[in-house]
Symmetry: C2
Subunit: 307 residues, 2 copies
């Protein structure tokens, strides 16, 4: 089934304790669409880039069969640029530079042919823009949204308004705690679901993820990546794998949502192995399914026989 | 098979954001022995208490069929007393009072009848005392040890000497990082295993636990306890459930060790539901096996069929 992806398309400058790169393709919509394209061939991208956007990056999207009718090219300026530096433990980072450029005036216009997409991925952008997307589409089967501390602190009212209109929120554990002021993740999750989303996924980085759906909690492990090279895009590739699988299967049962969480985790575990989106440019189906199997083995709890 | 438990027997004063208690039975050997007694009926306790130790607490151990030949009663002083206060998020605590009392001169003497115990649990005490225990026993099948930041910082040489003599270390994630100076848990685990223990369990509190054994990593989820009432003893009950199951089954295969980790997690999840050891005084077998099943459901990753 068709998937609409809305978010940022950017260039990133990245420093890690191991290496640095001055300019590499980035942005939430980039990571989500590239990743979901491994599962479904109907990925529709809405975003904006500037006059400096490389032809080879356009080509990359096309190679992955991503529809670019919704990608605006704004000749009045450059593409959104972000530069960040990760600390020694890779769990925290400093932003060194942010140039919004053409992204500052981003007005998501959904092409007619995208309006009946069954699945919608709202990457991390201003909540009012996320809402604007939803006002343009016909009622999708599932709307999944990401957000960040910047909007939780800066535009809480707009965020809460948008939360009412979505089906699933995907956020970090620290963001879940900040959004509710509740230290217990289990209680925070219940409060967030009262704000609107039926389903909630809390990403916990090296500790995996929790999904809350119906009366069920699913605890997904994290893949034990020995050398995390660059965490950039891990959260977005998670969302890409999740929604790619859901779009492909068109199945919202709790058991299939578990598979989606693991495919999200699988894709995130690949993403961090190289700089930027490098590792998720050409994965094989075998690699993806093999890693899914490794996730199963990693967390399998054997049965017991009572005496 | 028989299990030898060595550690502290104490009284605790506990303050949490929800309630407080002035004096309740505590100590690592208390929690480990009470918990393991649900799985094996051959629990042998070595520790020391003072002249103030309550008869009803002796009775409690006896009710649980715990052998007390190794419990020294030192009439020269009072039982070890610790008082602590948990912070709002229950993940950190301040020590308000520590009175070592008779525990200061604790010299673990292993009774003749305990010396051929197949399994040994070394609760969190001074590493040189843990080593002293090992010098007195015949070669056990598995020696499992706990430690804490206090010994990592205070007696690193003695700790490293003891680590060489044990089979399995059970510690917190922050302690694993402190012991190695390595932020990646996966790398820290490899370094710790080079220090001696073949098997390693890293406890991650609300994020579950990781077991490293052979070439295998096992990621165990945490039970989603809605109301954590008092975290005191959670780590020790984990070790009690783990070693109780291993002693009962006498099976060190990787698959059975996974079961042991889950029984440890099961018992810890009960422990935190009430003050001190209250909840683990009279659990039913049904409750224990039912919760094991809930752990299985919580983390089950369904199979996928490739297109």
């Amino acid at each position: 089934m068709s998937l609409l992806v809305v978010g940022s398309v950017a260039y990133d400058g990245i420093e890690t304790p191991f290496d640095k790169i001055d300019r590499v393709l980035g942005g939430s919509a980039t990571y989500i669409s590239l990743t979901s394209s491994y599962f479904t061939d109907k990925v529709n991208l809405v975003g904006v880039v500037g006059k400096d956007f490389d032809d080879k990056d356009i080509e990359l999207f096309k190679t992955r069969d991503i529809d670019l009718e919704g990608l605006q090219i704004d000749e009045s300026g450059n593409t959104f640029f972000w530069k960040g530096k990760y600390h020694y433990d890779l769990n925290s980072r400093d932003t060194l530079d942010t140039q919004l450029n053409v992204f500052e005036k981003f007005d998501p216009v959904i092409p007619e042919s995208y309006k009946n997409c069954k699945y919608v991925a709202l990457g991390n952008i201003e909540p009012s823009l996320q809402l604007k997307v939803l006002e343009q589409v016909e009622r999708p089967k599932l709307v999944v949204m990401d957000t960040m501390n910047f909007w939780i602190e800066g535009t809480p009212d707009a965020l809460k308004k948008t939360l009412k209109q979505i089906d699933m929120l995907v956020i970090n554990d620290s963001e879940a705690r900040e959004l509710t002021g509740e230290p217990s993740l289990i209680k925070a999750a219940a409060q967030i679901r009262e704000m609107g989303p039926d389903h909630l996924i809390v990403k916990k980085g090296e500790h995996g993820a929790l999904m809350f759906t119906g009366d069920e909690i699913f605890s997904a492990p994290a893949y034990p990546v020995v050398d995390i090279f660059d965490p950039t895009g891990a959260g977005d590739t998670f969302m890409g794998g999740l929604l790619g699988w859901i779009s492909y299967t068109d199945d919202l049962s709790a058991v299939n949502m578990r598979r989606a969480v693991i495919f999200g985790s699988v894709m995130a575990s690949f993403c961090v192995e190289k700089f930027g989106p490098e590792r998720i440019k050409n994965l094989s189906e075998d690699e993806i399914y093999q890693r899914y199997k490794e996730f199963q083995e990693l967390s399998e709890i054997p049965g017991v026989q009572r005496a």
